[in-house]
Amino acid sequence: MSTLTADPPTTSHAATPPAAAQVHSTFAGILRGEWIKLLSLRSTWWTLTSTATVITLVSLAAAASLNAMADDPALAPGIEQMHGAEVISSGFHFGMLTIAVLGALLITGEYATGLIRSTFAAVPTRIPVLAAKALTLVVLTAAVTLVSVTLSYFLTMPQLSQYDLVPALDDPGTWRVFGGTLYSLISAALFSLGVGTLLRSTAASLTAALTVLLLLPGILSFIRLDWVETIVSYLPLPASSALLTTGAVETQGAYLSTHASLIVMAAYAVVPIAAAAVTLHRRDA
């Protein structure tokens, strides 16, 4: 046994050991690590591509349906009330679906595969991992929203121009809608990441996140109780609707004000992540 050490086999592992001074864990490094992880998975590219595709296709369909509206005398006057930016952002709901999937998979994928043990072995304090994931997710969501809105803007232009609805870029209303779309999508992505970190399982996280984000308002809309309607107005989809209009037309009673919307949507992003950060430190990986 120990006699083997008399002639130790040469190993190349210490050929160029990383210089001790340079090798330590930094947040920038952790961020780069998360970035590499995210971009090296096919599922990331799938969800991003489908997000952009779906948002663009829905906006095209919405623009095409203007023809049908114009032919219907009952609906035709409504066109004048519309803002082109709202047509372009109409694919927002579907974008929420795929971006929420991306947000949840970012962490549940690690628990499902066991990768989380490698991740936490490298960063045993854990919280920086969550922060880095949140940051990469925000950047990626912003990028894909930008691409989707730009694509939608140009592709719907021929159709919108027929109705004089091409949103003017010097119109604050245009930027309000686009900004609201971005804000709400980022909120949905972070909400999903927070839920994923708390629940760990992909199936459970997606069910929970998508139910709250997309399904509940529709399901509860059949219940005409005041308190239920109040709850519904605070759910992400209704709460974000004030952010997806130009604000030119006063929103109906059930909806929140712009300020309330901003705060509620921020809470959806922050609360689950904060709760996840607290539990992440305590739970066994």
């Binding site: 046994m1 120990s2 083997l4 050490t5 130790p8 086999p9 040469t10 190993t11 190349s12 592992h13 210490a14 050929a15 160029t16 050991p17 990383p18 001790a20 340079q22 090798v23 330590h24 864990s25 930094t26 490094g29 952790i30 780069r32 690590g33 998360e34 970035w35 590499i36 992880k37 090296s40 998975l41 096919r42 599922s43 994928g109 690690e110 595969t113 066991g114 990768l115 989380i116 043990r117 490698s118 936490f120 072995a121 490298a122 960063v123 045993p124 304090t125 305590r282 066994d284 990986a285």
Partner: protein, 315 residues
């Protein structure tokens, strides 16, 4: 250097690890043995800061793992099962880990070369064989050039050449003064690789110390004698603490004494011996004897009901 003090982990009513205290010294290879469910992986996870001890402490190189500023430089770990996303390539996996510690890309290439993964580094890990996965795990463990290595079943699934490579690598790492702590169920491999042993069963330490000492503590070994006058020799050897059995006519297995003594007794009685061979217990025999009462999941018809209830209780 790994130091555990009264390390305990409970899951509900089940105590997976019960008050373990041990020190794994640098410059040695320490083997971690125990039956399935003995608490080996739980102990390793607690060392790595992945699981929180219910009570007690464990430090690596002087500090709890979570307090190290460059944990990958302190400890490289290969943990049970895969800890890799199957959709990512081996190189991407290693690059993402290296990035967290600002480890250069050249080091990633280096560990890929070293572990023999160069040909498949850009392939998705999902398509890897068990052995390839092990090599990737070892590459990840070596990435930060750590002072301490924790390897859970490193040779699992490796081909004979790979097993030999791991043995030499581990010996070389210890020779450089590093701490190597590894678990394995392959006793012959362990006896060739380890200097020290830590044997646990049902979450408690059963034996610890240098390999030969652990083996000797259990089975003092037996002496095999072949002689035409077996019956007379057996009678002559009869004494306190000496057990003589006869597996076949003309052959004796004597335990509780030395070959020298058996030879002297035979000589003084003028008996002819055809064979006198001391038989040293193997690590496997010693291990079996040590863990006989601590085996949690035994494949045996009469104990099926018992092990089933225990399995249900275990986590």
């Amino acid at each position: 250097m790994i130091e555990a003090r009264e390390l305990t982990k409970r899951y509900g009513d089940t105590t997976a690890v019960h008050s373990l205290s041990f020190t794994i010294a640098p410059g040695t290879v320490t083997g971690f043995l125990g039956p399935n469910g003995a608490g080996k992986s739980t102990t390793m996870r607690m060392i790595m800061g992945l699981d929180r001890p219910t009570s007690g402490t464990v430090t690596v190189n002087g500090k709890p793992y979570r307090q190290h500023r460059a944990p990958l430089r302190e400890v490289g770990a290969l943990l049970e099962a895969s800890a890799v996303h199957p959709g990512r390539s081996a190189r991407s996996h290693l690059r993402s880990m290296a990035a967290t510690h600002n480890i250069k890309a050249s080091r990633v290439s280096e560990v890929i070369e070293m572990t023999g993964l160069a040909g498949v580094a850009t392939k998705r890990v999902g398509g890897f064989s068990l052995g390839m996965g092990q090599r990737l795990g070892i590459a990840a463990a070596l990435l930060g050039d750590p002072r301490t290595l924790i390897l859970d079943e490193p040779v699992n699934g490796l081909d004979p050449e790979g097993v030999q490579w791991v043995r030499q690598l581990v010996r070389a790492l210890a020779a450089e003064g590093r701490t190597v702590f590894l678990s394995s169920h392959l006793m012959s491999e362990m006896s060739q690789t380890a200097d020290h042993l830590l044997v646990i069963g049902r979450g408690r330490i059963i034996a610890a110390g240098p390999v030969q000492q652990v083996i000797d503590s259990v089975a003092g070994g037996a002496v095999r004698v072949r002689t035409p006058r077996a019956g007379e020799l057996a009678a002559a050897l009869a004494a306190d603490g000496v057990t003589v059995t006869s597996p076949e006519a003309g052959t004796l297995e004597v335990s509780g004494t030395t070959a020298d003594h058996v030879g002297e007794v035979a000589f003084s009685h003028g008996m002819l011996l055809h064979e006198l061979s001391p038989h040293r217990a193997s690590l496997e025999e010693a291990y079996m004897s040590l863990t006989r009462d601590a085996v949690e999941y035994r494949a045996h018809t009469t104990t099926t009901a018992r092990s089933r209830t225990e399995k249900a209780n275990n986590r």
